[in-house]
């Protein structure tokens, strides 16, 4: 008994010491999270029920659900949401196969693979503004590539101003965005591909499986985590896409290529509706979290990837 009691005391002492050390180590992280994430989120949530013109000292008037009502009944919001959906569709239909194909290429045993890998990743290293400006100039009807080709061929046909045409302009931006991020997402898939044991592929080859069958029955099921990472990054990224559209079209003309993030920005900084802008932020947060949970559920471990 005395022996047990002494052990118990020592254990208790160690436990208390451990807890103290743990808390001390956690405090900086908790503080940073609280100051830079939790407090702003709570403040944004509260502000989304108020009206404030962004003026220091001005009264923040409580207006209940009015900001949400105005947003949800505004056709510009639904147009912006549709543009985000276009981005997601482009992400899954164009970017995902492209990035996966590139990943298959750079993990295969062909000569000069390092050069290819660098080339595919290069657009991502350029930076969004540089890429956006470059493509804006390329597509410019007055002095862009098509204009130069026309001059070279000696023809004088009208060149469409593709960034000014509704729906077409958002798809142009999507293609540029996919071109830029193909290399980045290639790395996600390449990481998944190199983690698959080579022996599995060799065994399948011995059993007479074709290249496509090996991808379908071995590669894809074992890369579910890579697809999950891609899907979540794609969905949340498309929902809050801002920079590339802002740099190429500024959400115009007449807001037709706007996205919820651009609306969030303009409501706050152009129109000084900071409450409504916060409501946009809350809507984006709720949608982002919900869609991430749904994606996680769809791609959970015990489910097979359906092809």
């Amino acid at each position: 008994m005395p022996k047990n009691s002494s052990v118990h005391r020592v254990k208790n002492k160690i436990d208390k010491k451990d807890i103290t050390v743990t808390i001390l180590f956690l405090i900086p992280a908790i503080l940073i999270c609280a100051v830079f994430i939790i407090y702003p989120v709570i403040d944004t949530f509260v502000l989304s029920f108020k009206k404030w013109n962004g003026m220091f000292g001005a009264v923040k008037q409580w207006i209940g659900m009015e900001n949400y009502y105005k947003i949800l009944t505004d056709k510009m919001f639904w147009n912006a949401m549709l543009n985000s959906v276009y981005f997601m569709v482009g992400g899954f239909i164009i970017l995902m196969p492209l990035a996966f194909g590139l990943a298959l290429l750079v993990t295969s045993k062909i000569k000069g693979i390092s050069l290819f890998r660098t080339c595919y990743f290069l657009p991502c290293m350029l930076g969004t503004t540089a890429v956006a400006l470059m493509w804006t100039f390329i597509l410019n009807p007055n002095f862009g590539v098509f204009h130069v080709i026309e001059n070279w061929l000696g023809i004088d046909l009208p060149i469409p101003d593709v960034l000014a045409v509704k729906t077409l302009n958002i798809w142009i931006v999507i293609l540029v965005n996919n071109w830029m991020y193909a290399g980045y997402n290639m790395l996600i898939f390449a990481a998944g591909l190199v983690a698959i044991p080579e022996t599995l592929n060799e065994a399948a080859a011995l059993d007479g499986a074709s290249g496509w069958q090996r991808i379908r029955y071995i590669t894809l099921p074992l890369m579910k985590n890579s697809f999950k990472v891609f899907s979540i990054l794609c969905i949340t990224g498309c929902l809050k896409v801002f920079d590339i559209i802002w740099a190429m079209t500024r959400g115009g003309p007449n807001d037709v290529s706007s996205t919820p993030s651009i609306m969030l920005y303009t409501q706050g900084f152009s129109y000084k509706f900071f409450g409504r802008s916060s409501a946009y932020g809350v809507i984006l947060l709720v949608l982002g979290v919900t869609l991430s949970i749904v994606t996680n559920h769809i791609l959970r471990e015990d489910k097979d990837l359906v092809m």
């Binding site: 962004g54 220091f56 000292g57 002095f143 000014a164 003309p253 007449n254 129109y271 000084k272």
Partner: protein, 447 residues
Amino acid sequence: MKRLKKAAAICLAGFTALSTVGVTGVYAEEANYDVDNMEFENVELRVAFRFTRDSEIDGQAKWYYEMVDQFNQENEGRIHVTDESISTESDYLEKLTTDFASGDVPNAFVEYGGSRVKEYVEAGYLLDLTSYLEKYPDWKDGVQEFAWATTEFDGVEGTYGIPWSAYQLCLYYNKDLLEAAGAQEPESWDDLVDACGKLKEAGIQPFNYSDKDNYHYEHLIGVLALKAYGPEIAEELASDAESYNGEKMVAIYQKMKDMIDAGYWGDAILSTDVATERSMFEAGQAAFFIDGTWNCGTFQNGSDRTLFDAEKIGVTRVPYIDEAYKTVEMGGGSDTYYITTLNQSEEEIAATVKFIKYLTTVNAINQMCEYSPTTYAEKVTIDTGNYLLNDVNVIMAENTDSRLNLPNYDTNSSATDTIRNSLQALATGASAQEVGDNIVDKMSAYE
């Protein structure tokens, strides 16, 4: 006890009396508007303007930074000015909005007046300069009367800024191209349409009109409305006596639409910015260019000066729609310095006034005009030899009336952005009526 009470009463009375003297003294000091003769000690000022240091082509920026350096040198140990300039308008405005939201505002900033700064004035965060201008009548008299419009606000008494630049929209034209097409300098809108037809027939592009920057259509709509219905249209629109989707305004949008449909405006309106449009005009790729009077200096300092040096650029008024309003123009004061009071000490405010006064005397602006010949709010007395500027000065002297941008008069602070965004739809196939309805719909959403 009685003695103690008496002593306490005397002490309190003395303290109260002394306090009053102190307050009076402070008040007397506060009421001192003679900033040139004030004593300052290590006052740090932050000013947010839209210049770029080391710019090779912007004469105004060159002049400004020389003035700042000179001011800091002359006031060493007393006042020091730190520049917080951002040249890109949207970034600049974003920073200003954030500053006013956080309460950490610069001591002075530049804006265009009207609805863009009205909220700051109404909140009491900008300095009323009336007393300072009364103290220095030469400073006040140095500014042209029309330019004060950017500093005065309906329902608020006082003068809340010092304008330093002035502008008016003009029509620039390439003399050689007009001659080649057999066209004349247009006076009326019909003349302009006629000239565009002749140019098109001769294989010359009349305009490479731009609205990528999103303000060009709004400027033109404004000046055409003034030249069709007179200056009162500005107040009528602001007071809702006239509507942006009413018959009058739709008729103006239709004139723009007709130019687009005829191909006179060019093919890349929304992909072209003003700098590109100007470059194409300078390169002889378009016969006309509608923009502000600041281009007199820009043509002179530009990279392609062939047309300017050969005096092949002409300038005239934007064509009228109703001859009765031929000399009514869109323009007035433009860039204006505003001094903030939010969380600023009396000493900082006085030092800021001293700095802004330093920048806006007639002598200072004369120097600026030498660096960048254009139209200014102050009564510039030097001749820069810029032939376009001379012509513009003659035109401006004959103006009978002028107004700023139409949205500036609106009480809805979203008016400028809403109208500018909606007008872009003209270039994407929307009808004139649809554009008008879109403006009204959007503005009602931001009431």
